[in-house]
Symmetry: C2
Subunit: 337 residues, 2 copies
DNA sequence: TTGAAAGCGCTAACAC
DNA sequence: GTGTTAGCGCTTTCAA
């Protein structure tokens, strides 16, 4: 029997398929009576148009793809929400592709370089090679990078080095001198370069204040609250333990708070903690943190992409979004005499 | 300039489009020499086939859609991984749709009831109405439910009432009599009926052991670790506080552990805690919990769906998956004298 | 205001 | 082993 087609509707409504198409696409050169007949027929038959045919004819898909790592990370989810906020106001559908390893990423990116699958693609918090970019350019497919970088691509980003500096300087200003840095792995294949950048900001701030970097105060490990807790436990049970810890993400900072509680270290009196991102839970636990406009990166990234699709012009756009420090109650002046 | 088409490739390779199609679809009635010519031409032109056209012609999409709530929940992610594991071995693409409210859900379900968008659909941990099922049936589109129920649909599920009973009985066996129950809201529109079922299992176990249900020992609230922590704090600071708490999810159980630590209540000596799901973090924090085969539900659900698509037959299948209790170190005998 | 018909890029008979 | 061609369901000129 196959699916109901525009032909069936036309037959039932006793009009031509062209007329049905007009009604469905809300063109106004159709008489009210005819329109009603068509609408009724659609209803009765439970008709819904074949999108493949429509897209084949039209030459575009009205959809955009978003490739990102680990859809479970709160920061990624928040960016995606921003994208959706933009797309909700447009006619575009969003197809998210969550990848868990570099092979998967490369595979998706290769397949997505196909005009019949999406009108444009968003890359979120993921490195992408120049060859991969080239493949998209070759078929005139717009790509915008969110929290990532590759020459020749539009992008929306924040200055992670600056963010790392801001966090560290906040602690320095409070008189802290033994400041720990805790993060996920600094050199993994799917690595967000942002973690490295934040670390660099941390080191820059120390340097500018004449404090030598002490590797004993730095820990890296798997991402996640529990892993961070374990690392913080180590960091805090050594001699000359840090009086403050800057964690490269809020999730990890919350793990640090767990560890402090476990060690009966009062925060912020005996330990100051600053996070990064300002995810929802940060407010909940009163975490001092660097706020980056996660939602807005998605929103603006989506907007730029849609513009580029509409205009068919691929000139590079860059949007640098501002950072701010949110001072809550996990940081206080150092108590050293 | 438009996209490169099969025609361009044919021209370049000096063969007919049929031959190109044969090469691309790996049919073997093509001479090696011709095949190579075609492959070269594809390469040079950077050709990739128009999927819309292919699908229009073929009449199916080779893709399946999965609709689920909040892609951030660890349990949902784990189920989805199972689905992906099945699909990875097939030719099907997976398109996840994460919905955040009932309106979004209804909207997606309505749009997805269209054979040109997917060959089948998976509904994960989400209630679906009989009208919605009817719409899919009407167009012969297979639907399989994972952790959900609606007459006339295939599904893979576990017995949540039993799970709730198992958890509670474990605590009863340890001698606990004041047992708290903590969960997300029991009657929300997007409600997983599973939470209600677990609650029912809890009540059944109490009843069968002659213990009256005391509403003071039950708390419900928003989902999430922090919210659970807050609820547990309330539960544990009243007179005659429970000696054990059964949390309807591991995430919430971990929130209970947070609260216990905060109150300096030793677990399991002064408080026993049991969770539900056995997500990864459960092992990390040594949580006693009801393990449900999250990954397998996805895997099997995907398999059933693919079968139904292949056979074109929609006879209802049901797969009831087993539960087990994983005893770790958050539960111990009650200390009451 | 409506209908006839061309054609989007592809696959699969069917011919040779 | 290879080419010709009909047609998937739709939109959109062009004519009426």
């Amino acid at each position: 029997m196959g699916h109901t087609t525009i032909k069936d509707v036309a037959q039932k409504a006793e009009v031509s398929i062209a007329t049905v198409s007009r009604v469905l696409n809300e063109l106004d050169n159709v008489s009210p009576a005819t329109r009603q007949k068509v609408l009724d027929a659609c209803d009765e038959l439970g008709y819904s148009p074949n999108m493949q045919a429509k897209r084949l004819k039209l030459g575009f898909t009205n959809s955009i793809a978003a490739v990102m790592p680990f859809l479970t990370l709160p920061s990624i989810v928040e960016r995606l929400r921003g994208v959706q906020a933009t797309l909700a106001e447009s006619e575009y559908d969003l197809f998210p592709f969550s990848v868990e390893n570099p092979e998967e990423r490369d595979q998706y990116l290769e397949r997505l370089a196909n005009r019949s699958l999406a009108d444009g693609v968003l890359i979120i918090s993921m490195p992408i090679s120049s060859e991969q970019v080239a493949r998209f350019r070759r078929i005139d497919m717009p790509v915008v990078l969110i929290d990532s970088f590759q020459p020749g691509c539009s992008r929306v980003f924040t200055d992670d080095v600056l963010g790392g500096k801001m966090a560290t300087e906040h602690l320095l200003d409070l008189g802290h001198r033994r400041i720990g840095f805790l993060s996920d792995h600094l050199d993994l294949p799917m690595q967000f370069s942002s973690t490295r950048d934040r670390f660099q900001g941390y080191r820059l701030a120390l340097e500018e204040n004449g404090i030598p970097f002490d590797p004993a105060y730095q820990k890296q490990g798997p991402h996640g609250r529990e892993a961070a807790r374990a690392m913080a436990l180590e960091l805090l049970t050594t001699n000359g333990r840090p009086t403050a810890i800057f964690a490269a993400s809020d999730t990890q900072a919350i793990g640090v708070l767990d560890a402090a509680r476990e060690l009966d270290l009062s925060v912020p009196d005996e330990l100051s903690v600053v996070g990064y991102d300002d995810i929802r839970d940060a407010e909940y636990v009163h975490l001092t943190t660097i706020r980056q406009p996660l939602f807005d990166t998605g929103k603006i990234g989506g907007k730029i992409l849609i513009e580029q699709i509409a205009q068919g012009c691929l000139d590079e756009q860059e949007a640098l979004l501002p950072l701010s420090i949110i001072t809550r109650s996990t940081t206080a002046p150092s108590l050293r005499s």
